[in-house]
């Protein structure tokens, strides 16, 4: 690089502009690929965008902190977007009321399965206790999961990554699971995807069907609350057995 270009690079790499712009570009590129494949779950836009960004940042030697100083403006919108989930939820309120029993039973069964199976498999394969505790809240939305991990002795930033991977796995795999067990009801499909894979699953559900999206949003909120209540007790038990 010439000295002049170098100066520009030094300036840009320290300003939030670059991180924000590449986040939007990477996502739009990933979304175009997703659309071109006919919304194929395997072409998950979060997965493609994150892969591209990690490669780009690694190749240019940019730290995550520098990147995040720009990307945080996108990250911040998670809050108001979570609040906005009340609207599709409201529009499905009647259906939710009619399905109250399956919703509550599915929530309890799914929440416990998510926690216990993650820890059990991790433990069987020799993961350390902090790693097991970081795995435990992986099915709930990032801010709740990080808060829980911190409280029970996990590693919050590792949990954040595991949460995202879980979201992608659920968004990618859900269709095949539901088709295999012949579950067609968009409400059940949406709710299960929300319990298993929080906001990323919810995003996928909204792209497929409005009703699925609303049920996924409901499941995400309920599972976040339930896991926050259940997990401290379960973690205490895990640490002594």
């Amino acid at each position: 690089m010439t000295p002049r270009l170098n100066e520009i690079w030094v300036y840009l790499s320290a300003s939030p502009l670059l991180g924000l712009t590449i986040t939007l570009l990477a996502y739009q590129g990933a979304f175009a690929i997703y659309r071109r494949t006919g919304n194929n779950p395997l072409a998950n836009p979060v997965l493609i965008a994150v892969t591209g960004l990690v490669l780009l940042l690694s190749l240019t030697g940019t730290s995550y902190q520098t990147y995040f100083s720009g990307a945080q403006f996108v990250h911040f919108l998670l809050g108001p977007a979570t609040v906005a989930l009340a609207i599709p939820l409201y529009q499905q309120a009647r259906r939710v009321k009619a399905m109250l029993l399956p919703v509550l039973a599915g929530l309890l069964a799914g929440s416990l399965t998510a926690i216990l199976s993650a820890v059990a498999v991790g433990r069987l394969l020799g993961a350390s206790l902090p790693t097991q505790l970081s795995l435990a809240p992986k099915s709930v939305t990032t801010p709740i999961a990080m808060g829980i991990a911190e409280r029970i002795g996990g590693i919050p930033s590792l949990t954040a990554v595991l949460v995202i991977v879980t979201g992608i796995l659920g968004a990618v795999g859900a269709r095949y699971v539901f088709d295999a067990i012949n579950v067609r009801d968009p409400a059940i499909r949406g709710f299960a995807i929300g319990v298993a894979s929080h906001g990323i699953g919810t995003a996928r559900a909204f792209q497929v069907n409005e009703q699925s999206g609303a049920f996924a949003a409901l499941a995400m909120g309920l599972n976040g609350a339930l896991t926050a209540l259940l997990l401290p007790a379960i973690a205490h038990w895990l640490s002594i057995v």
């Binding site: 979304f31 099915s139 990554v161 539901f178 976040g224 926050a228």
Partner: protein, 119 residues
């Protein structure tokens, strides 16, 4: 759009205050979502502006997870050490959760009386 966005932020703000004041384990935005849901019930539904702004925001919900997801680069070393346990655990647990939740819901679903099945 501006009024609707402000409204969402106000509900988030109230949610954060409640979560912190009562030391609830649930984060502020989720409480904000519940409060807005209750408010919509009282108001008889969202006004047009709130509806379209929310739709625009939720349409690209995936985008909002990209910055946190990119954080994977910070943990590449730890993940390299325990990658097999992590990957298998996440895969098995996510699929099991999808399966169990969907099957339990299907089993509990009330069947409409008019399906015309033979007794």
């Amino acid at each position: 759009m501006l009024a609707a966005l402000t409204q969402l932020l106000i509900f988030q703000l109230i949610g954060e205050v409640i979560a912190r004041a009562l030391e609830l384990p649930v984060p502020g935005p989720v409480i904000g979502m519940l409060l807005l849901f209750l408010a919509l019930g009282l108001r008889g539904g969202p006004e047009h502006e709130l509806q379209t702004t929310s739709q625009n925001l939720l349409q690209h919900l995936s985008l909002l997870f990209v910055p946190a997801g990119t954080g994977v680069m910070v943990h590449l070393h730890r993940i390299a050490d325990e990658w097999l346990a992590l990957l298998v655990s996440l895969l098995v647990s996510t699929l099991a959760t999808l399966l169990v939740t969907a099957l339990v819901m299907k089993a509990c679903q009330p069947r409409p009386a008019t399906t015309g099945e033979a007794p």
